[in-house]
Symmetry: C2
DNA sequence: CGTAAAGTTCAAGAAGTACTGAACTTTACG
DNA sequence: CGTAAAGTTCAGTACTTCTTGAACTTTACG
């Protein structure tokens, strides 16, 4: 991929991720690691590729590391390189996070009301229960996908 | 529920929703409509309850209406009242929205690469496919929940 | 049909946040 | 072991975005 195209794509990913609450820089770095060639790159390479400051690369890469999406690997010469985890998104970006937050705030409302079975609690109960059900079922879906993926790689 | 407790709870909901990209005022209004008694309230009542300006209530309620979470109902006397839809959250807050955004940006990366089967495209492909699979299966989960809910109301 | 309440719109101020330059610490080559 | 590259930290700046007061339009009661 053309380096210029890659840089712009990384920024696109940055925008998408930013709309989900990360900083643009965080998403840009992730976007670059998603498409870069070779897949392992040093901070200096990344910096030159995406055009962020040394400070932003340092802070952003640490956040990516802590979130478990990216890992450090030894590099020849000085410093170290970074590599995105193959299924970084499924590992770190929990699609049920939003639902959990809803469940929590609904439950808190029910606690404040005191009587969970009161008619006025219905609005809160319904929302809590829908999301609780979804979250309960989603892990099985992920397992199914992994099984299907494994089957395809054999066959 | 104590009016003061209700107001503070509405603000809590506002904070939770704000972390998902809405304005705090939007979430606060929604939070109030979740727990208020009576469930139908005029803009003036809402304004007094949550302590937002007339302007914020007006703008916020319109957004809630357009998102389909809240509907206007005729009020006695002047003006009109608002009422939250029983399953406002499941209707309007699509838990797959985030996944769709990821699928789109992964696909765009694959398009830029040209060759979808290239080894360097693997990182993009994997993420796209996981989320596509999840989205495909989630509607069935919602149906299951509704069926279960209907069964419980009979029994 | 006049008037006051209800509702809308928008410019301006306030508040929060992300990026970076610069100073500092750590690392490792020669 | 000196030095230069690599990496970290943080205060300041630039930017975006939410809220609101105020002026305006619409509604409906008397």
């Amino acid at each position: 991929m053309d380096p210029d195209v890659g840089r712009r794509y990384a920024q696109e990913v940055g925008l998408v991720l930013a709309q989900m609450g990360t900083t643009p820089a965080f998403g840009t770095l992730l976007g670059w690691l998603l498409v870069c060639d070779p897949p392992r790159q040093t901070a200096v390479q990344i910096r030159e590729a995406v055009g962020l400051s040394k400070a932003s690369v340092s802070t952003g890469m640490r956040a990516l590391e802590q979130s478990g999406m990216v890992r450090r690997v030894p590099a020849e010469g000085r410093g170290h390189a970074y590599e995105i985890h193959p299924d970084a998104f499924t590992r770190a970006i929990d699609p049920t996070a939003k639902m959990r937050a809803f469940i929590d705030v609904m439950q808190r409302g029910l606690d404040l009301m005191g009587d969970e079975d009161a008619p006025q609690a219905r609005r809160l109960r319904h929302t809590r229960d829908v999301y609780a059900y979804m979250i309960e079922r989603i892990p099985a879906l992920l397992d199914e996908f992994r099984a299907r993926e494994a089957r395809e790689e054999e066959g």
